[in-house]
Symmetry: C2
Subunit: 441 residues, 2 copies
């Protein structure tokens, strides 16, 4: 079998056989196929696509390219949640303790942020001393004993995806739905999930720019999950503007805590209830979606969800007092307000631009080596649809490096657009995809 | 400027600026752009194409990526001829002395063969002692004194094309008309030609499989040549079956000599007269195409064309007696006839398959390192349209390695197809492309 023949076959729009896909993924993993041939194949796939069967085979091969996590020692159904990435997306911090407090078994592997989006690992490091590199035994024991464990991904998880993703990033071949689906699902499957709830973001701040693309991706993800006998549900939600008000690690942790107290922003709470209720159904902790929502609301109001977060922080070596005492949270030495220069309404608040402004403040990484300022970030008082008065504060920027304020302010300013008419508010959740099909909200 | 942005621009079907193309070609030449990004761009160009202006810029940049040959010391117009490659294509061996004998100035740089097609350098080495590595001064002096010199290409000619071609070959991105045109013309232009006559082959034995593609390529080549102020003419000719009867180095040299005596196969003679007459017109050695043909026919019948070949061989250190005494030609120790198993007509004689059979006999190279058996090859007694009788000889295979005969015979057998009806004979030359447009034959 020759790689050049596989490339030319895909280039001509033909369907690759299982053997050809296996040959490719093994070759990439073992460094036996040069990057230039892999890059040419990725571009051919960008133009010609892959069908459901090719995508499933690719995903399986990538899943098995490295270590796979065996969670069978955990008797409960392990239900995992994944978001395709957004700005101000702290749902995992809320959801993990929330659904664990309702009886679900949460064995969560997570990652760091890069570019305009943040990462759950970085956010959790706001809790000083928090250990996010659990060994396998501790990870599984914690899930069994407390119903919750969150840890960084094993370095040897899906090495084929690590190589391919890095290559796609520099060859303009990220934006193919089959390749995105394979990349996401190979990691979820290798992480040992029994069932998967996906949050597919759509809009200017997300990979998927159109609803059509987002639903197509959701369908591919569900098809792969079900093809691997994992119950899979995908919600498609808007990411035109950041989720909630807080962007940046400590700021987002505080907002997540508020949400666990039942006092969070409505968009964030709605999304957590919806994702969480689906997780409870898939893990047999609720009979219906509606029952799931009801249970979760009780866990918020009873304080059990917040107590589960305290427990999570404590058992992983962090300081649980931070949950209740914000004086113990990382603090920024400098802050500046962005003011409205005229009255009217916020008509746009571009999520990606807000994410980049937050990164400029030190809250995110431009390269993998950058260090993060946990206190840096942005608090958005005004979001799309909000009325504003001249000289009212739109947002506050926080950083420990004063030199970064001016560029970040300019950037944030450019994320906002205004109008003199109130824009139509749009629902956050657009629809749900499962093996039964698409349900629009 | 970032290479990934150039790739994504072309991927999205946009037109690259001159600066972007310059950035790419310089980067490739200086090894500053990794092969995987070049491969991704080649595949994006395969799908999205390049317009005439992009192709011209690419060609110019590649032309200037290495050494360029200055032929301005030669006062006459240097007219070069290029064929896109075929099987049994010995036109250069005939044309160079033929047009030189008619007053044209022939400063020919040429190459070796690879795969199913042969190379002029290999063929000329049939003349023992022939020096095909002339230094610049000797090359130019010979052209000025004798009107003819043939030499291997400088190693530093168009390094960007060497790199890109090697990459395209293993990433299934050869078959793009703009990239093919840029590759061909950058070499012709760097070789110092003032005017160019091109032989664009079409058919199963050629790169271009359809007439439409061949004419599109011819138009791109002419457009680039004229865009660089070089008069350029492209003939489109068929390459369904091999040209002439002989395939293999010494066999082809003998057939070229027969053709220079006016006793060659009609298809080969016709093509040489047509290409040659255009060369005479472009070099001001004939006023019209018809006059050019008349002059060339006189040079064949007077013996002057053959005398020019003897002179060429002599001045470049070869043995000119080989031109007249075939006992001095390389001889094969083994030969075998391929016989007709029934009566009828030859309906097909696939050029590429014949070329591969000849390569298997030792006449060509599978890899650049292979050594050539100059005596090896195939003589085709029967070609498309010829009537055959059962047990008549279709072709003879020659080699110095008996072990190769059986596989090569099988291969050659598979190149032939037969029918009981006489197939329609097709004209060899299909049409001509110049700055004035397309003229069909």
């Amino acid at each position: 079998m020759r790689m050049v023949d596989i490339i030319s076959k895909k280039r001509d729009g033909e369907i690759l056989t299982d053997e050809e896909i296996i040959f490719f993924v093994k070759g990439i993993t073992r460094n036996e196929i040069p990057d230039y041939q892999a890059a040419a194949l990725m571009m051919a796939i960008y133009f010609q696509g892959m069908n459901a069967s090719e995508t499933l085979t690719l995903t399986k091969c990538m899943m098995h390219s490295g270590e796979t996590i065996d969670l069978s020692a955990i008797s409960a159904i392990n239900v995992d949640k994944h978001s395709t990435g957004g700005v101000g997306d702290k749902t995992t911090i809320v959801l993990a303790p929330l659904v664990a407090s309702a009886g679900a078994s949460v064995a969560k592997m997570t990652g760091r942020g890069l570019g305009h989006t943040g990462g759950t690992m970085d956010k959790l490091e706001t809790f000083s001393g928090m250990n996010l590199h659990l060994d396998r035994t501790t990870f599984i024991n914690n899930v069994q004993q407390y119903g919750i464990a969150i840890s960084g991904q094993s370095a040897n998880l899906v090495p084929a995806d690590k190589k391919l993703y890095a290559l796609r990033d520099v060859t303009a071949t990220i934006e193919n739905i089959s390749l995105i689906a394979g990349s996401i699902m190979s990691k979820k499957l290798a992480s040992g999930a029994d069932a998967i709830v996906l949050d597919i973001k759509v809009g200017s701040g997300a990979f998927m720019k159109t609803e059509k693309d987002a639903f197509t991706l959701a369908q591919e993800l569900v098809e792969i999950g079900e093809g691997m006998n994992r119950q899979t549900i995908g919600l498609v939600s808007r990411m035109e503007q950041p989720l909630g008000h807080a962007v940046g690690n400590a700021l987002e942790i505080k907002e997540a805590i508020e949400t666990l107290k039942g006092k969070g922003p409505k968009d964030l709470e709605d999304l957590c209830l919806s994702l969480g209720a689906n997780m409870l159904v898939l893990s047999n902790n609720a009979r219906t979606y509606e029952e799931g929502v009801k249970i979760l609301k009780e866990k918020l109001s009873s304080g059990e969800a917040l107590e589960k977060l305290r427990q999570l922080v404590q058992i992983q070596g962090g300081n649980p007092k931070q949950v209740d005492d914000w004086d113990l949270m990382p603090k920024a030495t400098h802050q500046v307000d962005l003011m409205a220069t005229s009255s009217g309404y916020v008509s746009d608040l571009d999520a990606e631009t807000v994410g980049l402004a937050s990164m400029l403040l030190g809250a995110g990484r431009q390269t993998k080596e950058d260090r993060i300022d946990l206190a840096a970030g942005i608090y958005l008082y005004k979001k799309i649809g909000d009325a504003i008065q001249e000289n009212e504060v739109l947002a506050t920027l926080y950083t420990n490096d004063e030199s970064k304020l001016s560029l970040a302010s300019e950037k944030l300013q450019s994320a906002y657009a205004f109008s003199n008419k109130s824009p139509r508010k749009q629902k956050l959740i657009i629809g749900k995809v499962s093996k039964l099909g698409i349900e629009m909200e």
